[in-house]
């Protein structure tokens, strides 16, 4: 039996030693030998103990120790895998624990002795706890001071205190409980002791251990007094204590809040719990494979959260094995209690089993989010010397008692509470396994897709992400390095705001985020290939390359136009909606994210914002374009544009028109007063309809994040104040689509930033190829608008617009496009500059006129 355990742990160590080679897809066999160090130490200790119990206790229960050794082995290797440093310490603790185990085993009258000196043990335990108030430390420097430092070794006295308390209670009940005893002298002394110990621990803020004490006490009391109804104390006390604690202690309140809904603050106070659930989900049924997962994302995975580390790498199968193993030890312990020769032995064995059960349940259910988290160790597996040694001694006592059996049948009255508690514990453990299964399977995908799941960054390091190309063939973003050190590099930093980033610290944004499934190798690949690769490596396949519609030459022009100015340019094919250029200045460089992150966040000119899609700019005098049709359709409107009218326009507008010799009239020059005239002359109902047709109230169907569209005003409101339209805040991409519709004879094309992905067979497959155009106006209307806005002798139309952001910052818009005289690809353009820019129309000429068709 022990042999099977030794082989299983050996297999685990061997699997761990292969992990590095598997992760990096090494050609040759790579073995990380250091995983065999903890295995060797574990094997040595385990065999030493086995040899000694074989000699001294030939009639012991033969299953308990192998099960214990299995848990210790899995725990030790998991700790080592998370941190070899802590793993080494834990190995030494196992050595010390085995030494104590073997020494205590050789004491002939150990059980009698500990029984006789019950008060000494109790006092010793309590004194150690009290000492932590004065000279307590925390090995990590911060947090609860629950440890004592002795000769450079940290000891947590609450661990041995648990065992000492069990011994005291067992001895006291065995000595004092007689059928005729009153409650006062039989139970009262223990109540005082337990309450005192509990208060000490609560004062230490060690709520987990305190709750375990109370539950343990109630369990032992109900079994020894054979009163089943006492068990109801546990849930009712938990409820009362929970309610009081919730309002009295901040610690309790936070714990309960994050337990009720970890996703409310998953990146803050509930980080650990949220990560724990994600880790369990990442493991799924079969686990990621030893050494192949990322359990280190859960803080303190080596101790309190070791169960999630096991659950991630060994999956539901491995985690259930751990729980079944624990349950097995517990049930064997209760069995030993029932067979015990003496009352003391019976109570002690039961106490130890109940203690293992409570501790396991508290921490495992806490990890899985079933109950509020209490920081206790998982018996045998968690990192922590005091806990391991205490648990080993407890097992030693169980083994000793398993040899002191009686063949006498216990009366049913005595036996039934034990069976009852055993069934209760079994049911709770089975429910815990079921909940683990729920997280690992039906709920798995939802948890894995959480934004807080950082595992994609690990995948990116070991399995290359797909690269991003421009339509013109240039590589925009590439993956450099080799498996284990892959990094993302942007070749066109000015496109960073659109391409986004995939950075382990700052997450994902832009195309990198929205096209994650292609780039990361999930979409576009058959599930069988994906499944097999993920089973072998716990990595997605190399990602698929993407081709954007970006035309790099045109992009350069847009960037040159913006240069040091603040604003955005978007150029698209007016017929197909393909986005040829998308520029937003100031921009950030995705390659220098780490260096500049703080300043990028703090800068007032918001370089992280993609102004082409995420800015919210007031429409301003561009409203005229949107209002044309509504004015024309309104029978009451008069001919607005006469030279006489021009004279009453505001002086700034007049200056603009004069300075800008291209400008033929007030509309083209973007005069606010002209715009207001137009809005006032429009039919409000048809204006509202038109705005809606133009997509002003809906976000453009672009793959990257866009700003929130404005809410449609009420018709009454618009009736009262048509100038409201000028204040609606839109993003440049929306206006680019309006420009495209006017250019494309009233048909608004769907915007298309991404063109195609390269499938595993090496063929480009178009993405979203067949989206329909939307007819937003009649062809004749579109033509008339173009004619109104086209300067003579040029195959382009445009309109300048003015607006004010936040009542101070001037904004200059330009929307435009090609006319039917244009010979190449019909183009639509939008420019938005956060400044007064009277020279915009010339810039437009520079961009469009000497542009040759990209097709």
């Amino acid at each position: 039996m022990l042999l099977m355990v030794c082989v299983a742990i050996g297999l685990l160590a061997a699997a761990l030693s292969l992990a590095e080679g598997i992760r990096t897809h090494a050609e040759k066999l790579i073995i990380t030998w250091h995983y065999f160090i903890p295995y060797a130490i574990w094997l040595l200790c385990t065999l030493l103990i086995q040899r000694n119990i074989g000699r001294k206790l030939p009639n012991r229960d033969p299953w308990i120790f192998p099960a214990t050794a299995l848990l210790i082995g899995i725990g030790l290797l998991t700790i080592w895998r998370l941190s070899p440093d802590l793993g080494l310490r834990q190995s030494f603790w196992y050595l010390i624990g085995s030494g104590l185990f073997i020494y205590a085993l050789s004491l002939p009258e150990l059980i009698q002795t500990i029984r006789n000196y019950k008060y000494v043990w109790l006092l010793l335990g309590l004194i150690l706890i009290i000492l932590t108030f004065f000279i307590g430390v925390n090995p990590m420097g911060i947090g609860q001071k629950l440890w004592l430092k002795v000769f450079g070794i940290y000891i947590q006295p609450s661990e041995p205190l648990k065992l000492l308390l069990i011994i005291y209670l067992a001895a006291f009940f065995a000595d004092q409980l007689r059928p005729n005893m009153t409650w006062i002298n039989s139970v009262f002394p223990t109540l005082i002791v337990v309450v005192f110990a509990g208060l000490l621990l609560i004062a230490q803020r060690d709520l987990g251990t305190a709750s375990i004490f109370i539950c343990l006490y109630v369990l032992m009391l109900s079994v020894t007094t054979q009163k089943r109804r006492l068990l109801w104390i546990i849930p009712s006390l938990a409820l009362i204590a929970g309610l009081i604690g919730y309002f009295a202690f901040d610690v309790v309140k936070t714990r309960v809040d994050i337990w009720l809904n970890p996703w409310l603050d998953a990146s803050g106070s509930a980080w650990q719990l949220a990560q724990a659930q994600i880790a369990i989900a990442s493991g799924g049924i079969t686990g990621t494979g030893p050494g192949l997962g990322s359990p280190q994302f859960v803080p303190i995975a080596f101790s309190d959260f070791i169960f999630t580390a096991i659950g991630e790498e060994l999956g539901l199968i491995g985690a259930s094995a751990v729980l079944i193993c624990l349950l097995f030890i517990i049930l064997r312990g209760i069995h030993i209690a029932l067979c015990s020769k003496s009352t003391f032995g019976r109570y002690l064995a039961f106490g130890i089993s109940a203690f293992v059960a409570l501790q396991s349940f508290f921490i495992v259910s806490g990890n899985l989010g079933l109950i509020p988290l209490t920081g206790v160790t998982l018996p045998f597996a968690s990192y922590g010397g005091s806990s391991l040694v205490t648990n080993l001694i407890a097992i030693m006592l169980l083994l000793k008692m398993s040899t002191q059996t009686s063949t006498q049948e216990l009366p049913d009255r005595v036996r039934s509470p034990y069976n009852w508690v055993a069934s209760l514990i079994s049911i709770i453990f089975i429910l815990t396994i079921a909940w683990n299964g729920y997280l690992a399977f039906p709920h798995q995908q939802e948890l894995i897709d959480k934004a807080e799941n950082p595992r994609w960054a690990v995948y990116d390091r070991y399995s290359p992400r797909g690269e991003i190309y421009a339509l013109s063939g240039e590589k925009l973003v590439e993956t450099v390095g080799e498996s284990g050190t892959y990094e993302r590099r942007t070749n066109v930093p000015s496109l960073s705001n659109t391409l986004g980033y995939a950075h382990p610290l700052f997450g994902q944004a832009g195309i990198e985020q929205s096209q994650y499934s292609f780039l990361r190798g999930y979409a576009g690949i058959g599930w069988k290939d994906r499944w097999w690769h993920e089973t072998l490596y716990n990595q997605p396949l190399p990602g698929l390359d993407l081709k954007l519609n970006i035309n790099l030459a045109m992009q350069k022009k847009a960037d040159n136009l913006l240069a040091d100015r603040t604003g955005a340019v978007l150029i698209m094919n007016a017929r197909t909606g393909e986005v040829y250029a998308i520029a937003s200045h100031p921009y950030y460089d995705a390659n220098l994210l780490q260096e500049n992150w703080q300043s990028l966040l703090e800068r007032s000119d918001a370089p992280l914002l993609n102004r082409a899609t995420q800015a919210s700019y007031p429409i301003g005098s561009l409203a005229t374009t949107l209002a044309f049709e509504s004015v024309w359709s309104n029978q009451n409107s008069v001919q607005l544009f006469t030279p006489e009218v021009l004279t009453r326009y505001d002086s700034a507008c007049y200056e603009t028109i004069k300075a800008n010799q291209l400008a033929l009239n007030g509309i083209q020059a973007g005069c606010m007063s002209t715009a207001f005239d137009y809005l006032n002359a429009a039919d409000p109902k048809s204006l509202l309809q038109k705005l809606s047709d133009f997509g002003i109230f809906s976000a453009p169907d672009l793959v990257i994040q866009c700003s929130q569209p404005p809410l449609a005003p009420e018709l009454d409101e618009l009736n009262r104040n048509p100038e409201l339209v000028a204040q609606l805040q839109v993003n440049p991409a929306q206006m680019a689509l309006v420009a495209a519709a006017i250019t494309n004879n009233g048909l608004m094309p769907p915007p298309a930033l991404v063109n195609a992905y390269l499938n595993p067979d090496g063929k480009w497959v178009e993405i979203n190829a067949a989206r329909p155009d939307t007819e937003v106006m009649a062809q004749s209307v579109a033509r008339r608008i173009r004619n109104e806005l086209a300067p003579t002798n040029q195959a382009i139309w445009y309109q300048v617009g003015h607006a004010t952001i936040n009542e101070t910052q001037p904004l200059t818009w330009l929307i435009g496009g090609t006319t039917s005289e244009w010979s190449g690809t019909p183009l639509a353009i939008v420019i938005a500059l956060e400044e007064n820019a009277p020279d915009l129309p010339q810039n437009l000429g520079e961009i469009l006129l000497d542009y040759s068709s990209p097709e």
Binding site: A8, A26, Q112, I317, G318, K341, Q404, T407
Partner: protein, 144 residues
């Protein structure tokens, strides 16, 4: 290559784990459903001890695997004699034998004229001297 070996190791690990747990659970099931609670425990030959205290013969039969002997009233066999220590000695059934062990008593234990320094095997009809007191051991062999 690495990955395939890794996968095989993982499968073997799961098989090993569950083979162990399967056996354990099977045993547990057997002990729960077994007719007697001590399902997994071994059968013990019944032990009968006789002694004479104040001229009165005492015969006691034990079915447990351990019997304590001493002057203390909580001993399984109480020898009321001033030369007997409180916890004098212990009989225990191990490796299919009954063993007697002296618990560092003041006046020692003797099997006939042999001083018992370390655990020894006792047989049917053996007499053990504890100080001035003596008790005799009868072991009923197990029924086949």
């Amino acid at each position: 290559m690495n990955a395939v070996i890794g996968l095989i190791l993982r499968i073997l690990l799961f098989v090993g784990l569950y083979a162990f747990l399967g056996m354990a659970v099977w045993l547990l099931w057997k002990s729960i459903t077994g007719a007697k609670l001590r399902g997994g425990m071994i059968a013990i030959p019944t032990l009968t001890l006789t002694t004479t205290i104040d001229g009165e013969q005492i015969i006691q039969t034990y079915t447990s695997s351990e019997v304590s002997i001493g002057r203390n009233p909580d001993s399984d066999l109480i020898l009321k004699d001033d030369t007997v220590s409180g916890r004098h000695g212990r009989l225990s059934y191990q490796l299919n034998q009954w063993w007697y062990e002296d618990l560092k008593s003041t006046n020692g234990s003797w099997l006939e004229d042999l001083k018992i320094e370390e655990p020894i095997v006792v047989k049917d009809n053996d007499s053990i001297y504890c100080g001035d007191a003596v008790f005799k051991i009868y072991i009923k062999p197990l029924e086949k």
